[in-house]
């Protein structure tokens, strides 16, 4: 699947421009190209071709001189994203350079970025869950933020549409708060996970422990191979088994002959035509030459990732929009959300010493939200809820570091697997708050002379109350499930650690209080669509990427239909 058309300068005019090539940008490109639109994808980083540009995908630890260790020079490129603990030599080339792309933490906020074709779709956790009306009705019900202009029934066919092509594995169990997807066969729980599942489901009616639902193929699909259980996903998958733009949507877009992708294209702004009252194109800076170029198109999809998308909109000023494109409401940049992260419990499971597993499953268990359900009891301490991720595994040789032992027997003992461990860690919903915001910082410019972002956001009392209960519940569940040496924890991470940034250009029914309409169009500039995390009106507690995919496909198909009707 080589040979992307990167010769963007052959023509400066396209039917559609998509800014960004990550999860949502890839979907926009596929849907628009397949509908026959000549589409230009603007990517600020380099081309990453599936398989060809995955240099570390097959390396064993000993095949790398430093066995995955970073040099100080490499580490120095990631003073921000490095805080996640996820950057090593095998994936460092897929993480953005924080030094060339500064941002200002008015309050601490870890922002993980990936500046290359495919973006964070190469690095994501791949947990994929449908949202439900528990989520889409939440703001209306408890009065936080503004109401979503859509409901589950609006998105349901689009979830199915994207799932059939992306490939989602999981088990259907019919929970109203976590609707089933169109599933490939589920991955397997291991012995200990099955054991804990039985205990928790028996002792806590209404709580379910299920295998994670993930964007990994458990059967071949459209020429992609199934997961080989190597768990080296963040290096790029040679089988194309997990969903990424590089392996899935961009090749499909390319196959239509309608795709042009332009690498090293830093979007400076969206160009607004004051006479026509709509966007006429996109101004870029060539990252390598510094050249300034304007591309024209009938429609623009902004999919640069939540905060970068908002940064572009804020920087797109005109007489009509002096405070950023579509910012009549003053809400552009506001209502930043994330999920809380790393609050839970872990413990040892006795027994099962003669049992083990085979394969490195890139997935764990999931405990869907069980508090404040539609027809259940409501907490007095908080609104909304959380879900748990987790898993069971046997200790390996790493446990030797803490053992008060040394010598030959110690060494040989570490050759055998140690005790079983099981953990759960919660992801809580974050309320939309006007106070949690980003804005342009003209005092700190990036390498290309563009204003950067200041991020000013922190957890509110509701998130802290949710976290408190997560910790209590996690400990209680593991205790009742019979685990030993239970260790409950709350790392008190600041926002950003969930790597689920949402909001800052929210959808809503009222242009006075929101930026986007029910089909992700800027209320006051309808040929500009925003379908990445920036559009989110609330945050749910479940992982958002599948919803970005569905919203994008829905908006792209709406755009095509509006173009046909000459409405854009």
């Amino acid at each position: 699947m080589a040979n992307f058309n990167i010769d963007a300068d052959k023509s400066l005019t396209y039917d559609a421009i998509v800014i960004g090539s990550g999860i949502s940008g890839g979907w926009a490109a596929k849907e628009l190209c397949e509908a026959g639109l000549k589409t230009l994808v603007l990517e600020r980083g380099r081309i990453v071709e599936h398989v060809v540009d995955y240099p570390t995908m097959n390396l064993d630890p000993w095949e790398h001189e430093l066995r995955g260790g970073l040099t100080p020079e490499q580490a120095a490129r990631h003073p921000k994203g490095g805080r996640s603990g996820f950057i090593g030599a095998f994936n460092e080339h897929f993480h953005a350079n924080d030094v060339e792309n500064p941002y200002t933490e008015v309050k601490p906020f870890m922002w993980v970025r990936a500046h290359q074709m495919g973006g964070r779709s190469l690095l994501w956790g791949k947990q994929t869950y449908r949202w439900s009306d528990l989520d889409f009705e939440a703001n209306a019900k408890d009065g936080h933020g503004v109401d979503w202009p859509i409901r589950y029934k609006d998105l349901e066919p689009w979830y199915t549409h994207v799932e059939k092509f992306a490939g989602i594995s999981g088990e259907a169990i019919g929970l109203p708060q976590l609707p089933d997807s169109h599933f490939l066969p589920p991955m397997e729980l291991n012995c200990v996970e099955k054991h804990v599942k039985e205990r928790i489901e028996k002792d806590f009616p209404g709580r379910n422990l299920i295998i994670g639902r993930v964007a990994h193929l458990t059967e071949p699909l459209n020429g992609r191979g199934k997961c080989q259980f190597r768990n080296r996903c963040d290096r790029g998958c040679p089988y194309g088994a997990y969903f990424s733009s590089n392996a899935v949507t961009l090749p499909a877009a390319n196959a239509t002959g309608n795709l042009t992708i332009r690498p090293f294209s830093i979007v400076q702004s969206i160009v607004y035509d004051e006479e026509k009252g709509k966007a006429s194109g996109v101004r870029i800076i060539d990252a390598e030459t510094g050249e300034d170029i304007v591309y024209k198109a009938k429609i623009v999809f902004v999919n640069a990732s939540t905060l970068s998308t908002t940064q572009i909109l804020l920087n797109s000023t005109s007489n009509r929009f002096p405070n950023g494109l579509g910012n009549d409401s003053g809400e552009l940049g506001h209502n930043l959300m994330d999920h809380t992260y790393r609050i839970g419990a872990m413990g040892t499971v006795e027994g099962f010493e003669d049992k083990y597993y085979k394969g490195r499953r890139p997935n764990g268990i999931y405990i869907p939200r069980y508090v404040n359900l539609k027809d259940g009891p409501q907490s007095d301490n908080f609104v909304r809820g959380w879900g748990f991720q987790g898993g069971g595994y046997r200790h390996g040789w790493g446990a030797g570091s803490n053992q008060e032992d040394f010598g030959g027997e110690f060494k040989d003992g570490l050759m055998k697997p140690g005790p079983w461990e099981f953990f759960i860690t919660g992801f809580a919903e974050c309320l939309p708050s006007h106070e949690n915001k980003v804005y342009l910082n003209k005092d700190v410019l990036d390498k290309w002379g563009q204003p950067t972002l200041s991020i000013d956001a922190e957890w509110g009392p509701n998130e802290l109350a949710l976290n408190k209960q997560i910790r209590i519940d996690a400990k209680e569940m593991l205790e009742r499930a019979g685990l030993k040496d239970i260790h409950d924890f709350d790392n008190e991470h600041e926002m950003g650690y969930g790597i689920h940034e949402m909001g800052t250009a929210r959808m809503g029914g009222d242009p006075k209080t929101s930026v986007l309409n029910a089909t992700n169009q800027v209320h006051t500039c309808k040929n500009v669509f925003v379908t990445d995390g920036a559009c989110m009106t609330s945050s749910s507690c479940v992982n958002p990427s599948l919803t970005y995919m569905a919203l994008t496909a829905r908006a792209a198909n709406h755009a095509v239909s509006e173009l046909k009707k000459m409405n854009l």
Binding site: R342, G359, R360, D490
Partner: protein
């Protein structure tokens, strides 16, 4: 007479009693211990000798290779050279010096030159005085993590150097680079040793 001289003397005495070939091999053993068999790129010769002794005492050769057989000491020197920044490099050098100074105070010599019994006493002392690693989820610690100190940090690094080596990772642990499937509940006896990857 220091401990080292005493050891030499007793070795000679023992050799004399047991015959010439044994004497020769003992002398060779002593000489080998003194001579560094590899060329460090970061540590100086004394520090490298410490590293070799530490690795060998933590993970000696048994029926399976020892730490030195897979060059764990050489690898750690490389890691210090290439992955530590200046502050980190200063830290390890001063900690090695401190470790040896403590050994001299308590047992009369630097770590590499101590008897097996004194080395064991030294390690036991460090084990009971070194904080432990907090449990981890997805590769990073949960809950507060106090600094584990040089001893436990180095121990952890030696374990990593050993178990991530090709010899151990491929030929001793259970190596399966492309499992193909996930089977969640199989007899341990079907696998044997812990998975290497």
């Amino acid at each position: 007479m220091n401990r080292r001289d005493a050891l030499k003397k007793s070795a000679l005495a023992l050799g004399a009693a047991a015959g010439a070939p044994t004497l020769l091999s003992l002398l060779q053993a002593c000489a080998k211990q003194d001579r560094l068999t590899w060329t460090p790129i970061f540590l100086n010769e004394d520090q490298a000798r410490f590293m070799t002794a530490f690795v060998d005492f933590l993970l000696p050769k048994t029926e399976t290779p020892g730490g030195l057989d897979v060059k764990a000491d050489v690898f750690i020197d490389l890691m210090y050279a290439k992955t530590y920044d200046e502050a980190g490099q200063k830290y390890v050098v001063s900690e090695i010096e401190k470790f040896n100074t403590d050994c001299k105070e308590k047992y009369g010599n630097v770590f590499a030159e101590l008897s097996v019994e004194d080395k064991a006493a030294c390690f036991k002392d460090h084990e009971s005085n070194s904080p432990k690693y907090a449990p981890k989820v997805w590769g990073t610690a949960v809950g507060p993590q106090e600094p584990v100190g040089f001893y436990r940090g180095l121990k952890s690094m030696v374990l990593w150097a050993y178990f991530s080596s090709e010899e151990v990772g491929k030929n001793i642990l259970s190596y399966d680079p492309i499992p193909g499937d996930y089977l969640g509940c199989i007899p341990l006896s079907d696998v044997g040793n812990t998975w290497s990857l």
